[in-house]
């Protein structure tokens, strides 16, 4: 009998610790599938974030490093510059990449660092219990803006793709939403493109994944997908921002 579906080799046997319906799980699987398809597991070094994906080093079967909060792009830079023929990816949440690590991501992008960054935007700090993130939408309630984000108090959401797209360094920037079968296919294609770009020596690639946090959003997974499609993608439109 022909096997049509199996666990990607890019994943270990460890069980994910994510909440039910969380798109961190989905995105992990897509990265693993892409590593399988490109046959690069044995030449890849991953850099994990602080946040809900902090245990990612247990899930992926490539060599892997745990970075401190926000610094993954710099750690990835150190690895890539020492080992230019290896594939180096980093994975970061919005608290990690768009708040504490803003300088690191802007400058890795500015240098055109030949790495692939997967950016999970779920508009909140999942791991620490649902606090406000730089990407939290206006009016969105979090534990640190309990009456909803007020721009006069908390500022405005930061659009990372649009901001990085103003730089000359990046070779590829796309925002995707894996909330539908079509979105899933697009997300995987984007991740693969980001990896292929690196293999081709084209420089910095970033894929922003519009993600969810059903637990802290206090929604069912289905509701959370709807919220991404209706509310989030209005502020963070999906699409290709740079591809050169």
């Amino acid at each position: 009998m022909q096997k049509v579906f199996e666990r990607p080799k890019g994943l270990t046997d460890a069980e994910f610790s994510y909440c039910a319906g969380c798109l961190h799980s989905t995105t992990h699987r897509l990265i693993a599938e892409v590593m399988d398809e490109l046959d690069i597991i044995h030449q890849t070094v991953g850099v994990c974030p602080v946040g809900c994906a902090v245990f990612m080093y247990e899930y992926m079967s490539c060599d892997i490093i745990e970075a401190s909060h926000g610094r993954a792009p710099s750690v990835a830079t150190g690895v890539k510059r020492m080992l230019p023929d290896r594939v180096v990816w980093s994975y970061q949440g919005d608290g990690d990449l768009a708040s504490i690590g803003t300088a690191e991501i802007v400058h890795a992008a500015g240098r055109g660092e030949n790495i692939s960054v997967i950016f999970i935007n779920n508009t909140t700090y999942g791991m620490t219990g649902g606090q406000m993130a730089p990407t939290t939408l206006i009016g969105q309630k979090t534990t640190t803006c309990p009456t909803g984000r007020d721009p006069h108090v908390n500022g405005y959401p930061i659009r990372v793709c649009e901001m990085l797209a103003t730089l000359d360094g990046p070779s590829y920037i796309e925002r995707v939403a894996p909330t539908s079968p079509a979105g899933l296919v697009k997300t995987k294609k984007a991740i693969k493109h980001a990896f292929q770009n690196q293999i081709d020596g084209k420089g910095f690639s970033l894929v922003e994944v519009l993600s969810n946090c059903p637990t802290n959003w206090r929604m069912t997974p289905i509701e959370s997908f709807k919220w991404i499609d209706e509310k989030m993608s209005e502020v963070f439109p999906v699409g290709v921002f740079v591809d050169r």
Partner: protein, 366 residues
């Protein structure tokens, strides 16, 4: 082949790093160590390595972290405020048991302070500096030659103990010119690094991590790294003694003040006062036993530092009440003059002060 060349301390560090087989330098400008990134921007690529001027010290130390994960010899250099910013990364590097070298050419502090020589980062360097129970292996050169010699030594100790090593010096050691004997007879050991995350290529995947949820596992890490520090305390203590044998008063100083104190030993001896000098070369591991031995002979101590009293605490711990330990320090970038220190010595031998032909204020005025 050996060549003699008039060299700055900061430049000597760079030549030493090349001799050590350093493959990466990541840094950010700050006075008084700017020559290090400047030289490295040329020397690294010319010797098959990588130089990046990072966007901040925070980023630079994390690049070092990445390069060390890749199994390569990597370093960074900074001065006091910049080293404070590196502390987060240094703690992670120590926790992941990665080797690397960090240079701190200290300036006057706290805060922005000034760019004059200081030694006020002693506590930060020798007691951990960042969060958690860890230590750095700390070497303190007192000459341009030692800046050169200590780089390969620091890289070797870092690899051997899988722990960050620090070169702790002050602005004078970094900025002064001396003849440097550039030899290449270093014993560079190639340490196998089977733990490196450099692409699995047939082996099981490597993980470099410092998150350990289980308290017993994390305690295990702490016990393992503490055992390394105990081993370093047994095998890696380095120091130099000058005229301590018959001394009644032993000065303890490192770096620039140690040079001044050596002159003071000679001046005091000319006047018939039995004075000696013990110069710790490794600030961690500290020459505790050697100082304890001197104290057992009843020798008294005068610790001289360019701070308000930091290393003096380690000397007091070593002496453990067996004899008297006193302190003389200048801070804020002021450098003690030989006469100033001689007067401290004279006071302890019951002699009146001599008048200085130049004051320290004049010396630092420009």
């Amino acid at each position: 082949m050996a060549t003699k060349k008039l060299t700055k301390g900061n430049a000597a560090l760079c030549y030493g790093a090349i001799a050590a087989g350093c493959k990466a330098f990541f840094g950010y400008p700050i006075t008084p160590q700017n020559e290090v990134p400047e030289y490295m921007s040329e020397l690294m690529p010319a010797n098959g390595g990588v130089f990046i001027q990072a966007e901040s010290e925070v980023s630079a130390i994390n690049m070092v972290y990445g390069a060390a994960c890749a199994g390569k010899r990597a370093m960074t250099s900074s001065s006091s405020p910049g080293v404070s910013l590196k502390q987060e990364g240094i703690s992670y590097i120590a926790a992941c048991e990665l080797p690397c070298v960090i240079v701190n050419v200290q300036r006057g502090g706290p805060g922005l302070g000034n760019t004059l020589p200081g030694q006020a980062d002693y506590f930060q360097a020798t007691k951990g500096g960042g969060h958690g129970d860890y230590k750095l292996l700390v070497l303190a050169p007192w000459s341009v030659q030692e800046c050169y010699e200590f780089m390969p030594l620091a890289f070797d100790l870092a690899d051997k103990y899988r722990n960050p090593a620090m070169i702790l010096m002050d602005a004078i050691i970094g900025q002064m010119l001396e003849p440097l004997d550039m030899h290449d007879n270093f014993d560079i050991v190639e340490y196998p690094k089977p733990w490196a995350t450099n692409g699995a290529r047939g082996r099981a995947h490597n993980i470099i991590n410092s998150l350990w949820i289980d308290p017993e596992v994390l305690e295990g890490l702490n016990q393992r790294i503490q055992a390394k520090y105990a081993a370093a305390q047994m095998h890696e203590v380095r120091f130099k003694e000058y005229q301590t044998e018959d001394a009644e008063l032993v000065m303890v100083a490192y770096g620039c003040p140690a040079r001044i104190c050596r002159s003071v030993v000679d001046m005091a001896r000319d006047e018939g006062m039995k004075v000696g000098l013990l110069r710790p070369i490794t600030l961690f591991p500290f020459p505790t036993l050697q100082i304890a031995d001197l104290a057992k002979d009843g020798k008294r101590f005068l610790v001289v530092e360019m701070n308000c009293g930091q290393m003096v605490e380690d000397v007091r711990l070593a002496v453990n009440g067996a004899s008297e330990v006193e302190f003389y320090g200048r801070s804020g970038g002021a450098v003690p003059t030989p006469t100033e220190i001689l007067n401290e010595v004279r006071a302890r031998f019951g002699k009146p002060p001599v008048v200085s032909h130049y004051s320290s204020r004049k010396e630092t005025a420009n």
